[in-house]
Symmetry: C2
Subunit: 238 residues, 2 copies
DNA sequence: CATTATTCTCGTACTGCGTACGAGAATAAT
DNA sequence: ATTATTCTCGTACGCAGTACGAGAATAATG
């Protein structure tokens, strides 16, 4: 369906970006491939974060001149779209369904979260973006199949899936931020000291109590599962 | 509590940023104020989006030299923190509580959404950030008070609030993206054409059906309310 | 086989970003 | 008056995305 080899079909419209186009019959042969460039960008983002993904870095990683990248993606934004679809290929789009749509949909949520934890830049990249590449659509197809037993109409099914994705993105982004804050001892200590100071000022009694009676710590995994279950169990098919 | 007037107390640690410090008794008087700079940045973001907020633009807006801003915020990231807290001041932190925590918490969610719709850059700014300014903490205090009847322990209450914020951010971000895509007729048409083409390829039967049987369109407002209600009604206090 | 059209590669260069540096101006304490 | 302090802001640096266009490679054409 998609060529996913050389240049051409650069971006802007989803049609131009994702719909196949035959290899041009004239002209110089491409020295790189969209696939290789995208993979390099993903590897870079995985290893050093989204901000390490610059056109210069990606180019040097694949051994190309910087401006050569622009034959494969019309701009950096398009490269991001390609990255999102690339990692979305890791989602199993042909998994079996149990027939119990709540169970199936919970699995889908967990798959999304796992993907985002493997590629921590993904929630940020997904933010305010509506990816439409083949891998994303394949997974959407799978999700829609899982929702078939609900009998919801088309718009409602699409909406439920979008909302799930938005929820998982939000959750994982928060989870990652929390983990990062906890990982740096200085920063965590400074924050704790500051909050203690605020709590001690007398104007924040609820905060003071919440900090003094923490209860047992919650694992992100458990928290996610609880909220996900609530959201899905609460879904109404009427 | 905070001075919020001239420079000093620049950032990095939350302590250094938010805790009061007396006006220095020596040296030149500040020509601007943190408040004015922050307000200018917020106005800019409201009018032209977050990407319009550059140090140069903000400086010219307040009539300062670019580098003067750095006397009021140690870097641009800190300015973003200030912006977040600034608009958080619009949240009513002293609203009355009904005593029914589910009702109160739903109101809190709607207040957050309304704030984010007024300042569409807010979800993006909030992303992967944990704001701790006075206005944010005042609203947190309010939310914790609303959760008091649940009997949850401190960590759980804080977690519930964080999750609510993450959920609302994710939802509104998606809502804004959707609205933006719909608003541009060319872009929406191109997307529809592309999806129709994909649906016609025979490999996406569920998608084809969902697109052909859309049902009645959903208002973002109604969708938000439904999901929010589900999330909160499903919350368990055990 | 020479020519030509096409498509790619990539060096150069432009604009705009965040911000380090440090000189000079204003202010208050000595 | 001197001095220490705190602010203002012009200049400059490195890095970002990318427009431009010259040159290289390829395939169709006469």
């Amino acid at each position: 369906m998609t060529r996913d080899g050389g240049p051409g079909a650069l971006g802007a419209d989803p049609e131009e970006l994702w719909l196949s186009r035959a290899r041009p019959r004239r002209g110089r042969k491409p020295a790189f491939s969209r696939e290789a460039i995208t993979a390099a960008a993903v590897a870079l983002a995985d290893a050093e974060g989204l901000e390490a993904v610059t056109m210069r870095r990606v180019a040097s990683e694949v051994g190309a001149g910087v401006m050569s990248l622009y034959s494969y993606a019309r701009d950096k934004d398009t490269l991001l779209d390609l990255m999102i679809d690339h990692v979305s290929g890791e989602l199993p789009a042909d998994g079996a369904l149990t027939g119990d749509w709540r169970t199936d949909f919970k699995v889908i949520g967990h798959l999304q979260r796992a993907l985002m934890l493997r590629h921590p830049w993904l929630p940020a990249a997904l933010f305010a973006r509506r990816p439409l590449g083949p891998n994303v659509l394949a997974f959407l197809e799978h999700a829609l199949a899982a929702l078939r037993p609900t009998g919801l109409d088309g718009a409602a099914k699409l909406e439920v899936f979008s909302q799930l994705t938005a929820f998982v993105s939000g959750h994982v982004a928060h989870e990652i931020a929390q983990a990062a804050a906890t990982q740096s001892p200085d920063r965590a200590a400074a924050e704790a000291r500051y909050l203690a100071a605020v709590a001690a000022d007398g104007h924040h009694p609820e905060l003071a109590e919440a900090l003094s009676a923490p209860g047992r710590p919650l694992t992100p995994e458990a928290t996610f599962t609880r909220f996900l279950n609530r959201l899905i169990d609460g879904l109404d098919t009427s």
